[in-house]
Symmetry: C2
Amino acid sequence: MYGLIGKFTSTDGDRDRLSAILLKGLRDMPGCLSYIVANDPADANALWITEVWDNADSHKNSLTLPSVQAAIKEGRPLIAGMEQIAQTAPIGGHGLTTA
Amino acid sequence: MYGLIGKFTSTDGDRDRLSAILLKGLRDMPGCLSYIVANDPADANALWITEVWDNADSHKNSLTLPSVQAAIKEGRPLIAGMEQIAQTAPIGGHGLTTA
């Protein structure tokens, strides 16, 4: 499995708009086992994104899906920063589903 | 919802033993919507733990479950460090289940 832990910072005051776009865009992504969007209670513009994919190629391929392309296009003006905290190799756990 | 992103460091060479204990201990935790254990490909002793709970109380209460108590007891000697990267407020996504 392939995982990502990332932190997005929205343009000021736009976090809710950005998270709504992200959540809308992540439907039916082949190979996606988990994709969770979370607010940071300590920073009003910060979002945490934690992802698990069956493999790195599925993640890469997801970026070409029309739904994801649309979300990227719509969300990009609202993103002030993106920080990759970790790339991971998930082993297992609870909540790993299939798209 | 209540979320945690944490990084565990095992005593040298003990990561696989530690992750096996964690994975064994996390069965049937009420209010747990996601709990994923991942290796860090860049650090042979590091594990990433990402958790989502329905609320903070469910997380707190899980620490008193016999299965979790047993995992803590068994795993503690193998933990060299624990770092909380973020406490989060998950909004939604894919892979949020129930215990």
